[in-house]
């Protein structure tokens, strides 16, 4: 039974500098990197390569000792030029200098009809070796899926409501076959359904239009309507003991390519967006690209913050940093490290606010107004005072304040009872944005998830 879900709660952050649906003619980045820190829950990362090794696209670079079969593979062919380490020799980045022409490691190819006879075990072996397994994310906890589990359902959200998010339909243009093959493979891992969720008010992109073997649902509403966690909550909620997997549309197509073409295809279109970008548009590159080429001659000013991902859940990276494994957006916003005289009380319309307290007139702008927001926190951390607002941006039957307080006091029973299994960081990111008292909500959620997972 497909469902149509109308969400009333939520908040859209309408930022200036949306990527136009054109592909820029930029040279490919010289270096690419794999960052073990992108993979939540990897406990003991082990290297498969050392500096100076030559790799192909799809050669294993890294794995987690806790799940030894699952490889994280090089996105391009080239030479491992640096293994950057931090304190206690923690691996931060494995940098690969790319060849001009990408050579691929070859894996077994399947025709569409072969896929019907493929067993779950064979599929896992190919996916684990071929670098696409980390696309599967397990709920609860938001960690890389474990092949030993059988999820009760697999969820795919075809739309992203985050600010400046890349459009999945555009980035996966002409990937219909790969996407369908990916779905066919995924179906082997669950006894339940594979759900494909659409924006009720958006146009259905060609790549998703005729997908077979899935159940369609339509969701309407403001952000976080596109978050897969919110969709799960309304379609088939996660209870204690349940396991659900989620995959991004890009991940599905990548899985399909691995089986149809026998290669780890890490090419992707990345949206380079934000108010400080001169011409916001899409760039063709590979996973983990160095962002310097995207920014060359493309910045309005120098004092900017580059974010791998979106402004709500992303990571602040340097101007010569690398995009994250899961990120297909580079957001560039002004750095907000300027003090403002009496900035806490002066009336203004230019800084977006969910609230309407004295002087916050952004609600008068209408919803089409595009904002230029900087990275200033607009206030200092305080104790919780305001109540009822987190609930207004969380379209789930969950009390975020109580959940967060349960996490802060490490109250395991209450964390579970209040629904920690149903959320990961991104689902409560808006709470962090609107919080009057400026708590690091997402970090608190992650701490809670780690407590629940590891005890």
């Amino acid at each position: 039974m497909s469902k149509t879900i109308k969400l009333k709660k939520g908040f859209d952050i309408n930022l200036a500098g949306k990527a136009e649906k054109t592909v820029a003619n930029t040279p490919i980045s010289e270096t690419f990197a794999i960052k073990p820190t992108d993979f939540v829950g990897i406990k003991r990362p082990k290297l498969k390569v050392k500096e100076g090794d030559n790799v192909k696209a799809g050669s294993p670079v890294l794995f987690d000792k806790m799940q030894e079969e699952v490889m994280i593979c090089s996105p391009v062919s080239g030479e491992v030029v640096e293994v950057k380490r931090g304190a206690k020799r923690k691996i931060l980045e494995i940098k690969i200098l790319a060849d001009k022409e990408v050579e691929y490691e070859s894996f077994k190819t399947y025709s569409v009809s072969d896929l019907q006879g493929l067993t779950k075990e064979d599929a896992f072996v190919q996916m684990a070796a071929g670098g696409v397994w980390p696309n599967l994310i397990q709920r609860p906890y938001g960690v890389i899926a474990n092949q030993a589990d059988t999820p009760k359902a697999i969820f795919i959200s075809t739309f992203d409501t985050h600010p400046l998010a890349a459009d999945a339909g555009f980035t996966l243009k002409d990937k219909e076959e790969a996407f369908q093959a990916g779905i066919d493979v995924l179906k082997k891992f669950t006894d339940g359904k594979v759900y494909l969720n659409f924006n009720a008010h958006g146009e259905v992109a060609k790549v998703f239009a005729n997908v077979a073997g899935v159940e369609h649902n339509k969701i309407s509403g403001k952000h976080p309507a596109g978050n897969v966690g919110v969709q799960i909550h309304h379609i088939d909620p996660i209870n204690k003991g349940d396991i659900v997997w989620t995959v991004t549309p890009y991940g599905v197509a990548q899985i399909g390519s691995l089986f149809l073409e026998g290669k780890y295809d890490a090419s992707r279109l990345v949206a380079v967006a934000g108010s400080e970008v001169s011409s916001p548009q899409y760039h063709k590159t590979y996973r983990g690209a160095c962002i310097n080429k995207f920014l060359e001659g493309n910045l309005k000013n120098d004092h900017v913050r580059c974010i791998s991902g979106n402004v709500l859940t992303g990571e602040h990276i340097e101007k010569d940093g690398y995009l994250g494994f899961y990120d297909n957006t580079l957001s560039v916003i002004p750095e907000g490290d300027q003090p403002e005289f009496l900035g806490w009380i002066t009336p203004q319309k230019e800084r977006l606010s969910f609230h309407r307290a004295w002087g916050l007139f952004s609600f008068l702008n209408g919803k089409d107004k595009e904002y230029v927001l900087d990275s200033n926190t607009n206030g200092e951390p305080r104790a919780f005072v305001q109540t009822g607002t987190f609930e207004e941006v969380t379209p789930m039957d969950i009390y975020p304040t109580y959940l967060i307080k349960a996490i802060m006091s490490e109250d395991f029973d209450n964390m579970e009872a209040l629904g920690i299994y149903e959320v990961i960081e991104e689902d409560l990111a808006l709470c962090e944005f609107i919080d009057v008292s400026k708590h690091d909500i997402q970090q608190i959620v992650r701490e809670g998830l780690e407590l629940m997972q590891n005890g």
């Binding site: 204690k240 913050r305 900035g343 203004q348 609230h355 305080r382 104790a383 009822g388 009872a417 009057v436």
Partner: protein, 406 residues
């Protein structure tokens, strides 16, 4: 303004760890952050942009919403004085303003200075930033005391409220009771003679006119009912006939009570001004409209129930009179809505507000010792708010549990 910021920043090393005035860092920080929105930026991971709101702005919104009540209160203190001593005056005259300011401003100053001193001291001892919550409390306390209150009592009550009502629980955001109401309750029980009886008009040493009575409408209503023989509305209409009503009708006519030309605590006499404050709080989303509305609804429902019971004249008083007499409106708008001490779940807010309204009316009508009920009703429900929330959250947990199969 860069000059000023540089000047402040130059002093920073003195107050930071290892500096000469390291201990006073919270004080320096409070000054700096009041002058300048700090240059803090978001962290490496997580939200990279943040909402324009902060706690200071939210608290200032409440202070702004109280300004109509404050200005009205200043005029009214002057007006009540002048008619009590038999000097002809119109409500919005300069005389009234000056006289009112003469008595009200010192109370505000004492409240802010005494409370501020406690905040700073605690901030320094416990090494936490100075809390903005006091911006509101410091203004609330002067508005809920009579204009004749001795200043040392204001200071003592403020210190008590902030220290016992808030700081011992861990500061702003952690308190169980409303701080301003705690301060008033302290005065009420420690120094009853200065906060009950005929203390509501500042006579400033002059002799009142013949037939003057300093009683509030609440006291008149209660006494009328006790004596019996006539309705409360009649009793109110006949009381204080010697004084001229600023807004037409009898001195304690409904309209005069509603608009607020009567004696009482400085800021609470005008239900109209409280409603203007309510509109500001609701429009800005800072105060919960659910609480405000449900307090009024609860009071009206309880008043109606008493009307139906009708055991004495007070019970028979029209239910809507409860909105106008006493401090119900002010309490509903500024006290019950304190987010920290109120119910925190949306459903809970309805229950919490309705019970405050109902209990206020019960205390007024049934309890012989306390003419006003809002103070005790708010404090009482502050204590019960966590219990209400407990059951609402419990219901949420049960829904989740019912879904699970394991």
């Amino acid at each position: 303004m860069k000059f000023l910021h540089d000047l402040l920043e130059k002093q920073r090393p003195l107050f930071e760890k290892g500096g000469k005035f390291e201990k006073f860092y919270p004080l320096w920080e409070a000054n700096e952050t009041f002058l300048f929105k700090p240059a803090l930026t978001t962290g490496k991971r997580g939200v990279q942009v943040k909402d324009a709101i902060d706690l200071k702005r939210m608290m200032m919104t409440v202070v702004i919403a109280m300004i109509p009540c404050l200005i009205w209160g200043i005029f009214n203190v002057g007006y009540q004085h002048h008619i009590a001593v038999g000097e002809a005056t119109s409500f919005f005259s300069l005389d009234n303003l000056l006289f009112g300011a003469r008595w009200v401003i010192p109370i505000i100053l004492v409240s802010y200075i005494a409370g501020g001193a406690v905040e700073v001291t605690i901030g320094i001892i416990r090494k936490h930033p100075i809390n903005e919550g006091f911006l509101v409390t410091g203004m609330l306390i002067p508005l809920i005391v009579p204009p004749t209150i001795p200043l040392w009592q204001v200071a003592l009550a403020t210190v008590f409220g902030v220290l016992i009502g808030k700081e011992i629980f861990g500061g702003t955001g952690m308190n169980i009771l409303n701080v301003a109401m705690t301060a008033r309750a302290f005065l009420y029980f420690a120094y009853p003679s200065q906060i009950s009886g005929e203390v509501w008009t500042q006579l400033a040493g002059k002799t009142p006119v013949d037939g003057y009575s300093g009683a509030t409408a609440l006291a008149v209503a209660y006494d009328t009912s006790n004596v019996g023989g006539q309705s409360v509305v009649n009793g109110l209409n006949q009381a204080n006939a010697a004084l001229s009503a600023p807004f037409g009708g009898e001195f304690f006519s409904f309209q005069n009570l509603m608009i607020g030309g009567v004696p009482g605590s400085i800021g609470e006499t005008s239900a109209l001004m409280a409603i203007i404050g309510a509109l500001i709080l609701i429009a800005t989303g800072v105060g919960s409209w659910k609480i405000i509305l449900s307090v009024f609804a609860g009071a009206f429902a309880m008043g109606t129930i008493f009307n139906l019971a009708g055991a004495n004249a007070y019970m028979e008083m029209p239910a809507y009179y409860h909105f106008a007499i006493g401090g119900l409106a002010f309490g509903a708008v500024f006290m019950a809505t304190d987010p920290v001490s109120a119910s925190q779940t949306e459903t809970g807010k309805w229950i919490y507000g309705a019970l405050i309204g109902a209990i206020t009316v019960i205390i007024r009508v049934v309890n012989p010792a306390y003419p006003e009920g809002i103070m005790l009703a708010v404090l009482f429900m502050n204590v019960f708010a966590p219990l209400i929330d407990f059951y609402i959250v419990q219901a949420n947990k049960k829904r989740r549990l019912a879904r699970a199969t394991v």
